[in-house]
């Protein structure tokens, strides 16, 4: 039996040195770590004493501490904005006992293909604040694409502008309790019957996620009556890799249909 060493830092200043150690990784809820092999892990940094479990409002932004669980965030946002896209998405994620354990920071760092968190956060143009070797604030989009940012650094918080959006979230899965093969997050802002802003993120594509910029641009500035949704799905420029149960072509077909349904639903609402 190989011994894993546990570290229990009491403040963030202790983290950079710990993060530099070979084979030592942060431990938030631990659900992601337990899904993988422990063979390469020499040590685990327990983040439980770092006061990273909070939701607060600062400078027009919502800031969520990395140790905040899905259940915490659902409870908080349900009280202030029950139709928030994160409420819809996270309520559909995992199960009650797992939502009590999965942390926002761990999920953002790990970004599993089945994530119900990342689509909404990317649509919200979220930023992450890191401590460690690459300390600072970065867009979540850059963080997911740049592996260097993840080395020897830890997400301490995730934040996004506190704006009001109409939202739609869809997770495609074989059964309600299964992992999603892809998810669609749509945010919409309408002013005087005109589409002022729209964000569409698909998670689970070959590049992990795809922002549908062309479709977004084609819909902006149109009135709700002018927006034509039929056919948008078949023109969608998105690639999937085949899975055990779904071919890439089938997933592309499904995402097109679900995107059209989502756009119709959100424009109607």
């Amino acid at each position: 039996m190989r011994e894993i060493r546990w570290y229990y830092p009491e403040n963030l200043k202790q983290l950079p040195d710990l993060l530099k150690r070979e084979g030592v990784i942060p431990h938030g809820g631990g659900t992601g770590i337990l899904r993988g092999s422990l063979n390469h892990i020499e040590g685990l940094i327990d983040l439980g004493n770092l006061q990273l479990r909070y939701v607060r409002y600062r400078n027009g932004k919502i800031e969520v501490g990395a140790g905040t669980t899905y259940a915490d965030l659902i409870e908080h946002l349900s009280g202030t904005d029950p139709d928030h896209i994160l409420v819809k998405a996270l309520k559909a994620a995992a199960s009650t006992p797992l939502r009590n354990r999965i942390t926002v920071g761990g999920s953002a760092a790990f970004f599993p293909v089945w994530s119900d968190l990342m689509g909404p956060l990317l649509a919200l143009d979220a930023e992450v604040t890191l401590t460690g070797e690459k300390g600072g604030s970065y867009s979540l989009s850059d963080y997911t694409k740049n592996g260097e940012l993840r080395k020897m650094s830890l997400i301490t918080s995730v934040q996004w502008k506190n704006k009001s959006w109409t939202s739609f979230y869809h997770r495609e899965s074989r059964t309600k309790v299964d992992y999603p093969v892809f998810s669609i997050s749509i945010l919409l802002k309408v002013r005087k019957d005109t589409i002022e802003d729209i964000k569409i993120i698909i998670v689970g594509t070959a590049r992990r996620f795809t922002q549908c910029l062309q479709i977004e641009e084609s819909l902006k500035s149109l009135t709700l009556d002018q927006a034509r949704i039929e056919g948008i799905g078949s023109k969608l420029d998105v690639q999937f890799t085949g899975r055990r149960n779904f071919s890439a072509e089938y997933l592309k077909h499904c995402v097109g249909i679900q995107l059209e349904r989502g756009l119709k639903a959100i424009l109607r609402s």
Binding site: M1, E3, I4, R5, W6, Y8, H27, G29, G30, T31, I33, L34, R35, L38, L44, D46, G48, A71, K91, A94, S95, T96, P97, L98, N100, R101, V177
Partner: protein
């Protein structure tokens, strides 16, 4: 390594491997009311309350639970003095093979602590991490409803 847990109201020191799950440590220490099912957080047989929150003990490292409060189904009540949720499961016929029952009872208890008067959709949602392969869930939902009523003095 060693750690102290406060389990069912009593402080106790446990020795375990550094990569052991809370499930393994507690079962090896005699808390066999915590059932081992899927070992991947899908079935809910192993749930306990950790600092008041329902969690899958198979998905938690024991080392990360050091110093925390753990409640198993035995901590709610026993055959001589059952908790209203436990009585309601018996009275509703919500127990068949019984393997899922400790987890179901704890999930129901956890729900009723937060929401004393849940509707059926809230009950089903709170039990979404607990699988039962015998009952079809109808009697379990009835049991939670019955327990809620009794705990509010309506039973």
């Amino acid at each position: 390594m060693e750690a102290v847990f406060r389990i069912n109201g009593k402080e106790k020191t446990f020795s375990f491997d550094s990569d052991a799950t809370l499930l393994a440590v507690l079962r090896d220490s005699g808390y066999t009311e915590i059932k081992e099912g899927c070992r991947e957080g899908a079935c809910g047989a192993c749930v306990v309350l950790l600092d008041g929150l329902l969690i899958n003990s198979c998905q938690v490292f024991a080392a990360s639970a050091a110093g925390k409060e753990i409640i198993t189904v035995r901590g709610l009540g026993d055959v001589h003095s059952p908790h209203p949720v436990q009585s309601a499961f018996v009275d509703s016929g919500a127990v068949q093979c019984g393997y899922c029952t400790p987890g179901m009872v704890l999930a129901a208890y956890s729900l009723l602590q937060k929401n004393p008067d849940p509707d059926d959709s809230e009950i089903k949602r709170a039990l979404d991490g607990n699988l039962c392969r015998c009952t079809g869930y109808v009697k379990i939902v009835e049991a939670v409803r019955l327990a809620a009523g009794r705990m509010q003095g309506n039973g």
